[in-house]
Amino acid sequence: MTRTKLLSAATTIAALALATAPAMAQTKFEFWYGLSGDLSERIQEMCGTFNASQADYEIVCVSQDNYEANLQNTIAAFRANKQPTVTQISDGGTLDLMLSGAYIPVRQLMEENGYDIKWDDYFSGIASYYSTSAGELLSMPFNSSTAMFYYNADALKAVGFEGAPQTWEQVEKIARDLKAAGYDCPVAFDPTGTWQWFEQFSAAHNQPIASNGNGFGGLDAVVEFNQGKFVDQLTWIKKMYDEGLFVAKSKAIGETANDAFVNAKCQMSSSSIADHGTFGKQAIEGMHWDVTMLPLWEGTERTNTLVGGASLWTLKGSTAEQYKGAAAFYAFLATPKQAEWWSTVTGYIPVTNTGFKAMTDKGFYSAAPYKGRELAIQSLTATPPTEYTRGVRLGNFGAIRLEVANAMQEVLFNNVPVQQALDAAAERSNAVLRKFEATYPGQALP
């Protein structure tokens, strides 16, 4: 699959190269990203705007389908010295990049190319995720989101529930009522969706994902997801699944949770705020849906959720001219007009305080179809970041996500006891972390 992706990427590049051959004076540089579908089209649009806005640089934007594939392909390209100038790396891949020595810190890039960026304008939660412990941003914050809870207001009304579900107790009750009223799929559950069902759940309930403050304290962290509230949460999810109140939906099963939700087949779902724009476009005619913060268990206090999404890393190995182009591109992304466009057509949140304030002042969030998106910011800033909600800084976190996804599926599909499945996943995750630590011996977190 990766090979076909690379091939199609190569043909895209070739096609673009042919199409734009006459414009020789421009400096061309590449940007690889890990989004597909509607979001990918928005990025292409954005690249088009950038290219049209100036004559010196031409950005070639190549989709690698998803974050994971983009990280893998970027690494493969980097090893073969064919890397793009700019690549988009997801939240979970941050530490993999930090220790790679393969990048130019964004702050340095912008300073060297004469751009003055107000770095302290970035939301602190976003900045801390992508910064060194000294507070220097290493990558450019780009698409930032957090997990939200979506619900079909029509269906909820039909069983007598007005407003947004705030607690998991309410979700359970609504799901039962929906089932009794003949709805097949009260809640769509993506068994591979560890980001929203595990990581963000843990953050909202202030539960540790790993020791050392989720890894921020050093490479010798161990995972702790098999001890806290997530164990109870997965037990509850299993109970709901067995009763047919949670229905597994994923690409492998034939329909994603998002598709099931926009087609009104499933009445509740959890997904990124980034999908707010897509849902608005794809929801079937006449369907009324809304978004709210992730539900909590009764009697718990909400802590801020984690920044999701990705940031842009500038890789070593390009020419000075190309770096100038990359810097111009970042500056373009940070212009208020562009930032607002991006937040409008997707659901990604503005990444700076002034950006958010400008949009709020314009009344962007007070009316449909954008109403509700401000809840993402509310969720992200519910409390000042705690030790366990400022982010996740674990090496090879993609492999750990895979372990948790496997554990969730083992519990659901193979009836493995929850504690046993999570203990096994934790043991394997710790082995991953130890191997990562040994691969970078003697290195401290930047």
Binding site: D96, S100, G101, I253, G254, N396, A399, F413, R428
Partner: protein, 294 residues
């Protein structure tokens, strides 16, 4: 008498060999030596350094229960694929060899699956076996939930095995048919005159006579199922659900490219290579010498 050709010029043979040597060097020896190096070190994913690890990578995979589960699964996969594919191909070849009606057409038709690229077949079979929309979906309408390769590991593994076996039928068929047609007709005819039915003749006369082909194909099928399963699995299940279709070659890919554990993957690839070398060795040294009836 044996005749031998000699080259006066000592450089010429090497020149003639050069293109092939170059290919082998670039596409086999060089990557193999690289993998060997990584297997004994801890390689940083982005390059830029590695540390000596001795046998740690091997000790780690050999101490990992999931790795052994993968090995057992690969063995089952290889045996099941080879058995199904060879039995069906042999049956088809037997019928075609008996010169029934339409033989000429079937001769070429049965080979077709071999010409299909594994990923393309994977896509087709994934559609056929899709629990909701696919052709098999009908059984789910009669007995809801009885077939679901997306959540049931056994279903998923069975689905991939059937697809892989189907792809191999064409290749096996050609060899079986060629072997059967090489047999002197007189042997079969003599059997028939003594009153042996076709099934008996197959068991007692034809099968023993084509034993070398059977063993050759067995080894080829085993090797192919160890190494060629990658494309199919990647398209059909991506190793899931819950690693239920993760065979050795796929785990290697997942650990190396998805898990960024280059060293662990390199160690696994060395183990897999040794396994294939061992199978090839068995074929050359043992099978080719023993299984002869002339």
């Amino acid at each position: 008498m044996e005749r031998r050709a000699f080259y006066q010029n000592p450089v010429l043979p090497w020149l003639l060999l050069a293109p092939q040597l170059l290919l082998v060097l670039v596409f086999f020896y060089w990557p193999t030596s690289q993998a060997l190096f990584w297997a004994f070190t801890l390689e940083q994913p982005w390059g830029g350094g590695n540390t000596w690890a001795g046998f740690n990578n091997f000790l780690y995979i050999f101490g990992d229960t999931r790795y052994w589960a993968t090995v057992a699964r690969s063995a089952f996969y290889a045996i099941a694929v080879s058995a199904i594919s060879m039995c069906l191909a042999l049956t088809l070849a037997m019928f075609v060899d008996r010169a029934l009606k339409g033989t000429r057409m079937f001769q070429s038709v049965f080979v077709w699956p071999y010409a299909i690229a594994a990923p393309a077949a994977g896509v087709a079979f994934r559609f056929i076996f899709a629990p909701e929309a696919g052709l098999i979906g009908a059984v789910n309408e009669m007995w809801p939930g009885i077939w679901n390769p997306a959540t049931n590991g056994f279903h998923a593994l069975g689905m991939v095995i059937v697809c892989h076996a189907w792809l191999g039928i064409g290749y096996n068929f050609i060899f079986f048919l060629a072997a059967l047609q090489m047999l002197p007709k007189s042997l079969s005819e003599a059997g028939a005159m003594d009153g042996a039915r076709p099934y008996r003749r197959m068991l007692d006369i034809q099968l023993p006579l084509i034993a070398p082909t059977v063993f050759f194909l067995l080894i080829m099928n085993l090797i192919s199922s160890f190494t060629d399963s990658f494309g199919l699995i990647d398209v059909m299940t991506e190793g899931g659900p819950i690693n239920a279709t993760e065979v050795m070659v796929y785990k290697l890919y997942v650990d190396g490219f998805k898990g960024l554990d280059y060293s662990g993957a390199a160690a696994q690839s060395i183990v897999l290579m040794l396994l294939v070398i061992a199978l090839t060795f068995v074929q050359f040294r043992w099978v080719e010498k023993r299984v002869h009836y002339n």
